[in-house]
Chain length 150, copies 2
DNA sequence: ATGGGCCCCGGACTATGGTACGGAGTCAAG
DNA sequence: CTTGACTCCGTACCATAGTCCGGGGCCCAT
């Protein structure tokens, strides 16, 4: 069983068959070889790739971003310098996400331990958990803004 | 300057004015007091709340999930037990995300250090970075499946 | 008292990421 | 060699999360 058919890949990766076709159209999955009849024959590692895509999405990356991430692997050699830049940027983004999730984790943990004692925790600070992010994009979206007198 | 108007909140939080109205309709921002004219007067901490929402989204939470997260804070007392369950589930989810991001970070770091030396890294394993997730939802989406003979 | 800039609202529109549909061809067990 | 499950394709549709529009009302500096 060297190759897989669409339904098998879909099943193993936990996605809809249509999703595979969709990814192919989007270019995030490259077109697999076909047999004479036109049936796709997927290499088995496609399953891992699709799972990666789904999980990366759950971590807040868009399909485009996932694609870039995956292309880091394929592209190497040739434009190595540009790849490096992208990888470094992604790395920082990932580290930022980790920091923020750690902060959320901390405040959720606090909430749980406080709620445990039936106290008034009116100030359980979930929101503040991400405020280390404060100026990271606060107050400027890059969109043009009209100044107003006041 | 005790309260803020929509444009100010939007500016400070880095979102579109329409987004605030949208969040209000969705119930993720509660309706602020209005002055006689109908103008909204936001309490300043709205800005933090909106930033939290945006950041949580970037971490892969849907608006619905963010809402639940925020309600953990508000809801306490009364249905404390149910809240606890939700908080614990979220905590696990967050820890899972952190683990996965750490894995991505690791493989990106490896990729960077390998690319550095101009080597052939045909096997840079970005994809495997999330495969610790393997069976976490692989192979079963809960959708009904028809068995086929082969 | 007036005008430029904000604010109100409902409703239409957009982008992203899929999902569903339907008619036709393929595969393999009986 | 039929039949039921699977596959193909294009196109239409869906949910989420906004974003824009346009007609009308406020606000206040000049």
């Amino acid at each position: 069983m060297a190759t897989l058919r669409t339904a098998q890949v879909a099943e193993l990766a936990g996605v809809n068959v249509e999703t595979l076709r969709f990814y192919e159209r989007r270019g995030i999955l490259q077109e697999p070889p076909r047999r004479a009849s036109g049936y796709r024959e997927y290499p088995p590692d496609t399953v891992e790739r699709v799972r990666f895509i789904k999980r990366a999405q759950e971590l807040g990356f868009t399909l485009k971003e996932v694609q870039d991430l995956l292309e880091l692997r394929e592209t190497t050699r040739a434009k190595a310098g540009r790849v490096r830049k992208v990888a470094e940027a992604k790395l920082e983004e990932i580290e930022h996400k980790i920091r923020d999730l750690e902060a959320m984790k901390k405040s959720l943990t606090e909430l749980l331990s406080t709620c445990d004692g039936q106290k008034t925790i009116a100030s359980c600070p979930i929101i503040e958990s991400l405020s280390g992010c404060e100026r990271c994009r606060g107050g400027d979206t890059g969109r043009p803004k009209k100044e107003h007198s006041r």
